[in-house]
Structures are given as structure tokens and as C-alpha cells.
Subunit: 146 residues, 2 copies
DNA sequence: CCTAATGTCTCTAGCAACTATAGCTTCAAG
DNA sequence: CTTGAAGCTATAGTTGCTAGAGACATTAGG
């Protein structure tokens, strides 16, 4: 059995984060020692590694909660799990597209500035006027509504 | 002079967001009408457009605060402004690199799953074991939402 | 001129996913 | 046996908003 510190070290997760995961019900309540300290076995370790890995891949805690409860029912179809992964892939792809546009725009700004006074700074100028931009990089949420 | 609603419409910023920007000192306190409602002129409109555009390009409010105070001093060198833009570009580039690795890993997961029971699901399997991954996508830099 | 509908006001609380602090108790090494 | 690290709980802070409650202001229609 591991203490919370050892578990965190093993999984690459900070101690307060583990307690936070327990608090929100992502990890079950840990066993306690005689002195009221949390103790973890192999199962908890695997569960935390799963969470950590999914977080690294950008899944939200809500998605991870669903994936975990799916993984607890090995006999069922994996369609739901695959759908969550596909949604996450789509999310990553859309962020990638947006960031690519952002990068292009930022590069343009930075390259075009000759480096003089603020009054002539291309960075400041472009920030004040989107029509100087080459791409439409506006935020999806705000461009769709209103 | 515009009311807060008209200003928000013009700039593509929601009304509570404008009040929030004032509250945190990003926008100056607005003039008020006889009935205590906020009124905005051309200068405020430009400032808000600047903020909106910089947000769209992924700058933090803190960076925008600095950029705004720089843009208020047109005689000074623009080196500081350029540095902020370059830092933002670097940030975007590093997020792009990470997201690219994530995308590859998610694609692999999704493609490899044959779609049967959870017990055989490649998605669940890979999430539980990073050593099944082809790339090292770890190290979670702050996953800012954009 | 009155009324109804919308717009605006302040204030508070909530969202994700942690992170940090304070003030304790428990544990392990020397 | 003492000391310092590690653990405990509870609360508050982070970023950039967003949502709600309950009251006041403004505007369009009849
Ligand atoms: Zn410049
Ligand atoms: Zn632009
Ligand atoms: Zn599957
Ligand atoms: Zn991995």
C-alpha cells in the first residue's frame, strides 16, 4: 500500500490533485491508516494512471468520468468509449486549425514590425484593426453568436 | 455615445464581459448618463476592439493590459510590445506542437479499435497504458482553452 | 400619458481543473 | 525523544468569463 505522496510520485500527479480527484468522486474514497492517512493499492494506482494519461491527451474530467465507468463494464460495447475518443479528436483538430491561423497572423505581425516607436509599431496597429489580418482567426463561439 | 448594449454589439463582446473588463481595470470607468447607465465614446470603442482582437489572437488579459499601456505611449520604443507578441507566438507554437502529437495519438487509438466489447477496446487499453503510445505527448503545459 | 417590454444596474455565485495557504496531526529517521 | 517531512481538513485564489436575482431606466405602442 502506498501513501498519497508515493502514489503521486508513481503516477506523476501532485498530492493535492489526488485529493481533489477523490473529492469530486473521480477516485473512490481511499482506505485509511490507523492515523487517518490515505492508503492506495494497485487498483487505485491503475485508475490514477488512466486518469493522468487521459488528461495528458486532453480529455476533460467529465469525459474521463464516463470512460472510467465504461471501463468498469468490460462486457458492454465499446461504441460509447470510441465516440468519446472521436469527439476528443475532433476537438483537438478544431483547436489545431484555429491555432494554425493564429500562428500565421502572429508571425505576420512580428515580421512586419520594423522596430521603431510605438506609433509605428505594426503589432499595435494590427491588434487595433482586424481588417489588417490575412485570415479569419476569430473565436468560433463569438463569431457564431451575435 | 453608445449604451453598453450597442457597444457590445458593435465590438462583438457580450455586455457582462464589458462590465467585467471595467471591473478589472482593463477599461476605464465609463461615463454615466443621468440615469446612471454607462455611455461610451469612440475612444472606448477602439479600446474594446483592441482588447477583443488581442483576445481572439490568444493574448491573456495580463498581456493585453501591458499592450494597452504601451499603446498609450506612442513615443516609446515598441520593443516591449514586440516581445509580448513574440512570446505569444512562441506559446502558440508550443501548443501547436503538443496538439499535433495529441492528434496523432488519438487517431491511432481510434483507428486501432475494431469496435467490440470494452474488454478489447483499444481506446480503453491505450488510455490505461502510455507505453502503448507512439509519441511522447506528456508534460501537460497549461491547457488553455482557445 | 400609461403601460409593457426591453435594457441596464449592482451583487453574488458558478464553471474547469486545479493550486496555494493555514493550522493542525502523524510518521520516520537519528 | 526530538525534529522535520509528510499528511490531514478547510478555505480561498487562479483565468476569463457567464448566469442569476431583484431593482431601476428607457423606449415603443396604444
Ligand atoms: Zn513593433
Ligand atoms: Zn485579426
Ligand atoms: Zn473501442
Ligand atoms: Zn500516451
Amino acid at each position: 500500500m502506498l501513501t498519497i505522496g508515493k502514489l503521486g510520485e508513481a503516477a506523476g500527479v501532485k498530492v493535492p490533485t489526488i485529493r481533489y480527484y477523490e473529492q469530486i468522486g473521480l477516485l473512490p474514497e481511499a482506505e485509511r491508516s490507523a492515523g487517518n492517512q490515505r492508503l492506495y493499492g494497485r487498483k487505485a494506482q491503475e485508475r490514477l494512471a488512466f486518469i493522468r494519461h487521459a488528461r495528458d491527451l486532453g480529455f476533460t474530467l467529465e469525459a474521463i468520468r464516463d470512460l472510467l465507468s465504461l471501463s468498469d463494464r468490460p462486457d458492454q460495447s465499446c461504441a460509447a468509449a470510441d465516440a468519446i475518443a472521436k469527439a476528443q479528436l475532433a476537438e483537438v483538430e478544431s483547436r489545431l486549425a484555429r491555432l494554425t491561423a493564429l500562428k500565421a497572423e502572429l508571425e505576420r505581425m512580428v515580421v512586419q514590425c520594423a522596430g521603431g516607436k510605438i506609433a509605428d509599431c505594426r503589432v499595435i496597429e494590427v491588434l487595433g484593426d482586424h481588417s489588417l489580418c490575412a485570415t479569419d482567426h476569430r473565436h468560433p463561439e463569438t463569431e457564431a453568436t451575435q
